[in-house]
Symmetry: C2
Subunit: 460 residues, 2 copies
């Protein structure tokens, strides 16, 4: 960023602009911590007008703009690899409107999903996308985040009705509709969902809300092998029960959970299941059916949690698993895969992953949203152990090639960022050229979060 | 189309190309019948390679290409307003693969949804989008079609996992993924869904399948006013029952149904409802709750149909309503609106429409997928009665402005075609310019279904 650019930003934004070392440092990395690169400045925006003026100055002075809010991305999305301005939207965090009768809310991009849910409780409604961390809705839309609720409610892509998006140069558009469905014109909304801020900056979202399910039961059931647990997950999906969640943790995951939570769950591959029904009687029927399915699939025990407190206890363990697993390896860096395959291929894919990891002698744990065919392998190694990281990348590559050959995707929910760019050619083929053309159309000067998503083997 | 173009097509395609008057005539209009314009030739394609070669010749000889299959669109989408080639995909009608364990099927674009469902029955699965007519899946994706199942399963946009799309000039790309979710790269898939063949030609679809619901009950309940019926629909949606369908017909609709089916339903505004549950006991609970809701909302009678035969009888009436209503006005043309508003605004919107129609002294009937906030007003008038058509357009415009002011859309499921282009500026504002840019990017010579979706008040 030139001194002139910095002066122009300072003149327009005053104290909202910061170049304090601690602030620059806090905007130099994301949750993965795998890259560190400081922006030239951080701008705390308060309004859509602030965003538009920042984009106008960006075009005029040709500096990069990297949207930032909660900082919880996992693929390096927030890292300002070409410097420029970190556009911090975390103060645009208002819930603007809750239309309870229409099951929708309009929010600013910096609001976190736990905070939105806190404000929704009095309405008996909730927002079902729970990627973990204290993620912001703008960031969640920008990576098409999901989480444990996706098996029932879908991903961010399924929740976003309407967006306001600030484009390069300072144009503003509204995309999508507040109606539940529309066949009017080209669907631009889905271009911006999952674009990681490379095509525009989301300044407002209208999202769907859902009634809190009335009758719930949570199950925890453990298996001899991770493949058996995955096969059971597929059987449960095939039975079309009214599932709210369906999660898998491997043996190491259970070990980490027990250590982190002080619990004493059997340290075996385990499914976490949540079932819903419209009445206690219907719930009991569903529970009995699901228990039978699990036992038929080789479950060694099935524990059910009925009360809200018991269920919260059970789910806390699963929700903390990522941090619990990182905690097993202090001083190590962690790299997470995020593959997603068609459901029928999940058990085979997990067996492939387990075998590749074991053959390479790597330390890795496996957890996932298996009802969606999505799972994460967390690799742990000391940051400076180059030989191990080479082996990790090799296993990661082989797993990804297998998933793509099965019709899957290199990212189920984390996005591409810096880490998965190298898989995009293989996954998308010729369509990658069209993606490049779309980027060039909407951001001809490559100022919006440059260096993310698209591989750099050919110029934009 | 030049003689050279026709010769080149003939040389490549031989008997697959037709210029027979009856064939040209059959490709000159869609189901609405409001416009007639013949293509210069019709090409019956058998394969993706045929489509690609046709697009190469189109670019070389600069003739327009208008995709065609079942011919059931309602907004003039299939009318070759600039002549050229009608690309008939109806013979590409194979179900290529059913992955029952993965809940997905891969099909060619010309297969119709009733035929797909016929082939799915042995698997205990079904495809839930039912727009009426014998629509093809390629056409349904191209208009983002929906129907009575959308309130439970969503629209085509929610069902399509992966597409193969032939682009202008003869490039082929694969967009989307067979995984249930993906955060990998820009979402190009949704650009082609609802694009009405103006951005590319869909040559293959992989779609989601669903288990046939096991326990169902259908209800028919009638009300004094159409506003009361709509308010009841909103109350049912708010109660979050496990709905499969939620449909509305007005008094004239019931009159038409009775005449068409020989039935004797009360000729009053009526809701058609279908409920599902996982067991007979749960179904009875849901039914009792729904019946109470309807009675509290002023239902004058609630009739329940339990057996498959009774339910089929009830739904036949609703499914035939469009044709039954057209049959009330022999020799008239029919124009259908397709507004969709946020659910909480539905009763007010329907009251507005009813009042505008009555004040203008027009003949019109109202039916709709009210669980989605989507309803159709069918206007009937003799084709040559210009004064009445002017009044119809005026009422149509006022209804549309009202729906857009409420945050709704000019099309819930039929698409834009020729008829709704004039609403796009008002609905999309600045985003319309981005739509034009996307069209220019993907079809720089404006050869793919030209004259559709985008209004012509400024050049592409």
């Amino acid at each position: 960023m030139t001194p002139e650019a910095l002066s122009a930003l300072r003149a327009r934004f005053g104290e909202q602009l910061s170049t304090a070392p601690a602030v620059l440092h806090a905007h130099a990395h994301d949750e993965s911590g795998l890259e560190h690169m400081q922006p030239h400045a951080v701008l705390f925006v308060h309004s859509e007008d602030d965003v538009l003026d920042a984009l106008r100055l960006s075009e005029l002075h040709r500096f990069a703009v990297v949207p930032f809010a909660a900082g919880s991305s996992l693929e390096g999305q927030l890292v300002p690899v070409r410097g420029g301005l970190s556009l911090d939207l975390s103060r645009m965090n208002a819930v603007l409107d809750v239309q309870a009768g229409g099951f929708q809310a309009t929010v600013q991009p910096g609001v976190t999903y736990p905070e939105l849910n806190r404000q929704l409780r009095p309405h008996g409604l909730f927002f079902p996308v729970d990627p973990g961390a204290e993620a912001s809705l703008g960031g969640m839309a920008s990576t098409n985040a999901s989480g444990t609720g996706a098996v029932r409610y879908g991903t961010m892509r399924d929740q976003v009705l309407e967006l306001r998006v600030a484009l390069a140069g300072g144009r503003i558009i509204r995309v999508g509709s507040r109606a539940r469905k529309s066949s009017s014109g080209y669907d631009l909304k889905h271009l911006f969902i999952g674009a990681e801020g490379t095509l525009g900056v989301i300044t407002q979202l209208t999202v769907k809300l859902w009634p809190l399910p009335s009758h719930l039961v949570a199950l925890r059931c453990s298996f001899d092998t991770v493949e058996a647990a995955a096969a059971c997950a597929v059987a449960i999906m095939t039975a079309a029960l009214q599932l709210e969640r369906l999660e898998l943790l491997d043996t190491e995951g259970l070990r980490a959970v027990n250590r982190h939570e002080g619990s004493a769950y059997p340290e075996r591959p385990t499914l976490w299941i949540e079932l819903a029904a419209s009445s206690p009687a219907a719930l009991n029927e569903t529970l009995a059916l699901c228990r039978d399915l699990c036992l038929d699939a080789g479950a060694l025990e099935v524990a059910a949690a009925h009360s809200p407190a018991e269920r919260a206890e059970l789910w806390k363990a699963r929700h903390h698993a990522y941090y619990a697993l990182r905690g097993l390896y202090p001083g190590h860096s962690t790299l997470s895969t995020d593959l997603c395959v068609p459901l029928q291929h999940l058990p085979g894919m997990i067996a492939f992953a387990r075998s590749a990891i074991d053959t390479a002698g790597l330390q890795a744990s496996l957890l996932g949203h298996v009802g969606d065919g999505n799972f994460h392998v967390l690799f742990h190694a000391p940051p400076d152990d180059a030989a191990t990281w080479d082996r990790i990348q090799d296993v990661y590559d082989r797993m990804t090639r297998e998933a793509l050959a099965l019709g899957g995707t290199c990212s189920g929910e984390h996005g591409v960022g810096l880490h998965k760019r190298r898989f995009l050619r293989l996954e998308h083929g010729e369509a990658l050229e069209v993606m490049r053309e779309v980027k060039a159309l909407l951001d001809p000067q490559n100022l919006l979060n440059p260096g993310k998503i698209l591989p750099e083997d050919s110029a934009l």
